[in-house]
Amino acid sequence: MTSVVILDYGSGNVRSAQRAIETTGAKVSISADFDEALAADALLVPGVGAFAACVQGIKNVRGEQIIGRRLAGGRPVLGICVGMQVLFERSTEHSGDSFFEGLNEWPGTVEKLEAPVLPHMGWNNVSAASGTQMFSGIESERFYFVHSYAARKWELDPHEMLAAPKVSWANHGEDFVAAVENGPLWATQFHPEKSGEAGLTLLANWISAIK
């Protein structure tokens, strides 16, 4: 049975994420234990609230090391919402004229969306990149978003020696990165655990992609 750890670093309620992943048949535990989070078949990094608080919470449990070592070993990690945003280099959320540093798995800045209504709250379409595993069978479904900040550009330069990440976009006032599939590192700006049947399918796609 596939084992999944939800990284428990004080990021609010993760009960629904646990229940949602359990519907795929995986065994899910909520833990901040370093070895358990390394050993799990898959790691989910949740995130609600402020960017800086999430980065700090992750660092408090040495989450950046857990993520880094897992990725070095090609082992799956999925970041959700702010758990995706922290994977970028930096965010301008509540940072005044400066910025807060993220975990820097990807270059780029998480910035406030320019849109008439914020937060972006509700079910939106995603333009799924071609050939993703994540959106297999659910390419035209809507997913539940709730956020005001996002990566408005994808800045990782393509490299002939690396497989190109599959970047999927959504639009609210402007285009932003809705999901990334980058080898073992996956992320969604939306909440699959709150996106009904489509979200459960996405999580099942994640679990079934785990070798």
Binding site: V117, P119, M121, G122, R142, Y144, F145, N171, H191, S195
Partner: protein, 253 residues
């Protein structure tokens, strides 16, 4: 391709049972919240709202248990409001499985409750719930009431909503006490006034009685439409509302 207008059933709950009254009186029992939540989740509801109308009394643990049971089966967003007085209340509701918490009367008495909750849990989970009544004496013509519409708060509704948004509320649940229970349609002037005042999403509530009531609320500026009895008593289905909104050019899921 843009964010869909949300259609939201509201379940008024009292001691673990769903009830809905006309103008908050003459309550009728309309069923079990967990069953209703599952039914709505399967029939296209974009979110659910639980309003705990007796939350001020001793039955808090009943509420938490009901939320836990619902959240275990429901994979769409769940908002819970009613009797939320402290940051600790917000914390317990989120822990039980709520995604968002509605703050009403206590927010007016203690606006720090909104700021403190938004700082601790994030803007996205703080919903400012406002029971609005028309009052010519009030600056905007709308005043905020408390205790389910029974008391005047002395605050202008629009001013209060602007303050709540500045304090970090991520959404406003706008309930017209004049329209509530009348089934004569949403208060469109109220929706327009709030839309013009804040950038946070607006949930229109109060007055839905027929299929043609929903699109005008969206045209007036609502990002979501909420109703209770018309859904609970099968007078209108969620899908019918969505079809109607789509016909009038709105995006729906």
């Amino acid at each position: 391709m843009s964010v869909a207008i949300r259609v939201i059933p509201c379940l008024d709950v009292d001691a673990g049972r769903v009830v809905k009254g006309v103008n908050f009186e003459n309550l009728n029992d309309a069923g079990d919240p967990v069953e209703l939540a599952r039914r709505y989740g399967n029939s296209g509801a974009d979110e659910l709202v639980f309003l705990d109308i007796t939350a001020s009394s001793s039955n808090r643990e009943t509420t938490y248990e009901m939320i836990r049971k619902t959240a275990d089966q429901l994979f769409i967003p769940l908002t819970v409001g009613g009797g939320v007085r402290t940051v600790s209340d917000v914390d317990q509701l989120l822990r039980a499985g709520a995604d968002k918490v509605g703050i009403n009367t206590a927010g007016i008495a203690n606006p720090e409750l909104i700021s403190d909750s938004a700082k601790r849990f994030g803007d996205q989970c703080v919903v400012i719930s406002v029971d609005v009544r028309r009052n010519k004496e009030s600056v905007s013509g709308f005043e905020a009431t408390t205790h389910g519409g029974r008391n005047s708060s002395g605050r202008d509704a629009i001013e209060w909503i602007i303050e709540a948004a500045e304090r970090g509320a991520g959404e406003v649940l706008l309930n017209s006490m004049d329209a509530d229970g009348t089934k004569n349609g949403y208060d469109l002037e109220l929706i327009s006034a709030v839309r013009a005042a804040v950038e946070i999403p607006v949930i229109a509530s109060g007055g839905a009685g027929k299929l043609s009531d929903f699109a005008p609320a969206v045209k007036a500026g609502a990002n979501a439409v909420l109703a209770a009895s018309v859904f609970h008593f099968n007078e209108i289905s969620i899908q019918e509302v969505k079809d109607e909104l789509a016909r009038s050019g709105e995006e729906v899921r």
